[in-house]
């Protein structure tokens, strides 16, 4: 099986539009575009099966409940989860991380420790800081290497008998570094700690098998996997979920509500208070089925080649002018490249690139601690998705050259 980016691209209405200048969308790490089959699945659901789920007996309610359940099965299958009931739908990756910080956090005692890293997105930092400030747990931080990878040589100093959770990104949204999961799982297991991976930047591009990874929690967002906004996923081991208290309270997550006392429904309902994002779950299911129709290994090779073209092109502009963040060729990286141009601000670069139809992101990418580690205010980031091609990369490089002539 092989992969044709242009065939994939044809499924994206926004990318087909006649933009002037032509659009080169390289901001996929922020939000990917949505595939037409996703929009169609949502439209079909909303116009044939719209109802609230789980509680109704009429045919629309049955159809909606069925569609929602099928979406859960699709996600479970995509992640190779043991059971669909290990899939909790949330409103996004951030919401999933907060859910863990509250529900798992409630099982921690003061002095227990959570390990995060300098590489994390704010969504995997702030919830733990808030937990620390609420409950008195300790927060330990794995530093990054100069190359922007987790410095796992320091694990033995950081993981200890009070460690209860290691929560790190699976793929960095800034350096593109892919986390070596094995040593982290081993370190956690040695002290009886759990492992959470933030998969927001991994699920769009790679095969993710939660059983093979050996982790305990995994989460990602719909809008980055060519699916809808407003939905995310928390996967967690069944027996772990069963032992966690709920986070949000409301309809659907209860067994019995009395004014004096309330008991909880089993997972995943326990963690899905209120009317869930039904149409979005249907859309996410469609997105993952769409993604699954492609040979993900071939997609990986395509993205690797494009990433290399981008990195090499940036080097050609002069390594003293353009400093590329992230691991060197010896280490795996995801399909995104952030770079610093001393003397030219990322916002100015991004703005000038936009004038050439090239959409990239400039800023701290919700990773201020990493920026602090590099002593940068921000970087410019071009992030790829399977529908990008060499023309996108070349347009980016060309526009960048023009921009730098203006700014430097």
């Amino acid at each position: 099986m092989s992969f044709d980016p242009h065939a994939a691209r044809a499924d994206f209405p926004l990318l087909r539009r006649d933009h002037e200048p032509a659009l080169h969308y390289l901001d996929n790490a922020a939000t990917a575009q949505v595939a037409a089959p996703v929009l169609e699945a949502i439209h079909a659901h909303e116009t044939t099966s719209r109802a609230n789920v789980l509680r109704g007996v009429h045919r629309l309610a049955e159809a909606a409940t069925e569609a929602y359940g099928t979406a859960r099965e699709t996600v479970a299958c995509h992640l190779n989860a043991v059971d669909p009931d290990e899939i909790v739908f949330t409103s996004g990756c951030t919401a999933a991380l907060n859910l863990v910080a509250h529900a798992f956090g409630a099982t921690l005692a003061p002095g227990d420790e959570v390990v995060i890293s300098e590489l994390e997105h704010h969504s995997n930092i702030v919830p733990w800081q808030m937990l620390r400030d609420r409950t008195g747990i300790g927060l330990r931080v794995i530093p990054v290497t100069e190359e922007g990878r987790l410095d796992l040589t320091l694990l033995p100093d950081i993981v200890g008998p009070r460690t209860r959770l290691i929560a790190v990104t699976h793929a960095s949204n800034v350096t593109g570094a892919l986390t070596e999961v094995g040593p982290i799982v081993d370190a956690a297991r040695a002290v009886g700690a759990r492992v959470l991976l933030d998969g927001a930047q991994q699920v769009p591009h790679a095969r993710v098998d939660v059983q093979a990874l050996g982790v305990d929690f995994y989460c990602f967002s719909g809008h980055k996997v060519f699916g809808p906004n407003g939905i995310g996923v928390l996967w967690a081991r069944r027996e772990l979920l069963a032992d966690l208290p709920p986070f949000l309270g409301g309809g659907e997550m209860i067994r019995r509500v009395r004014l004096s006392e309330t008991t909880w429904a089993p997972p995943p309902q326990r963690f899905e208070a209120g009317t869930p994002p039904i149409a979005q779950a249907v859309g996410l299911g469609a997105a993952l089925r769409w993604l699954g129709r492609h040979d993900i290994d071939a997609v990986g090779r395509h993205l690797e080649a494009l990433t290399q073209r981008l990195v090499e092109g940036l080097h050609t502009l002069g390594t003293e002018r353009v400093r590329v963040l992230g691991p060197g060729s010896g280490h795996p990286r995801g399909p995104l490249v952030a770079f610093d141009v001393p003397g030219a601000h990322p916002h100015d670069i991004a703005q000038l690139l936009d004038g050439h139809g090239v959409a990239v992101r400039g800023g701290h990418h919700c990773a201020q601690p990493l920026m602090d580690a590099y002593d940068l205010a921000g970087t410019t980031r071009a992030s790829l998705a399977l529908y990008n091609d060499a023309a996108d990369v070349d347009a980016c490089l060309e526009a960048l050259e023009t921009a730098l002539r203006k700014l430097l």
Binding site: L54, R55, G56, V57, R59, A61, E62, T65, E66, I254, R255, R256, A265, Q269
Partner: protein, 149 residues
């Protein structure tokens, strides 16, 4: 057609009042709710030394399906133990979900009355609740007869 659900036979079983009412001095009592609809089954059991059901009383606040299921238990559960009812409960669950055929055991032949419910996923739990309750009650009894709620 959803009205297929409400066959004469099912309505008759739901009205049969087999085992209806509470037991005096039960060995174990258990109340189970269906969180999705508020149905509630309360079961009282007397058990023999071997852990088999000697007497069963139930109080159901539930729909036709739930009442019929409880009455079927009231008719047929005497003499059954935790293992056999656990197997039965799983078999019913699987059959409702279309995973396998309905049990053919003669004792439980009235289960065919629930076959149309398979097409209505939202009603599966109505059928299952009494069976889940009896399995859980026997489990608790086996653990030392704690009185659950």
């Amino acid at each position: 057609m959803s009205t297929d659900l409400y066959q004469e036979g099912l309505l008759a079983l739901a009205g049969a009042a087999e085992g209806e009412g509470r037991l005096d001095d039960p060995d174990v009592t258990l109340t189970l709710d269906n969180p999705l609809c508020g149905d509630r089954v309360t079961l009282d059991l007397h058990c023999d030394q071997a852990g088999r059901i000697a007497a069963l009383g139930h109080h159901v606040r539930g729909c036709v399906l739930c009442r019929a299921a409880a009455n079927l238990l009231g008719q047929q559960a005497i003499g059954q133990d935790a293992a056999s009812l656990d197997t039965l409960q799983r078999a019913i669950k699987g059959a409702l979900r279309g995973r396998h055929a309905w049990p053919t055991d003669e004792r439980w032949q009235d289960l065919t009355l629930f076959e149309p419910a398979a097409a209505h996923k939202s009603r599966h739990e109505c059928v299952l609740l009494p069976f889940e309750a009896v399995v859980e009650a026997l489990r608790q009894h086996g653990e030392g007869g704690a009185t659950g709620t």
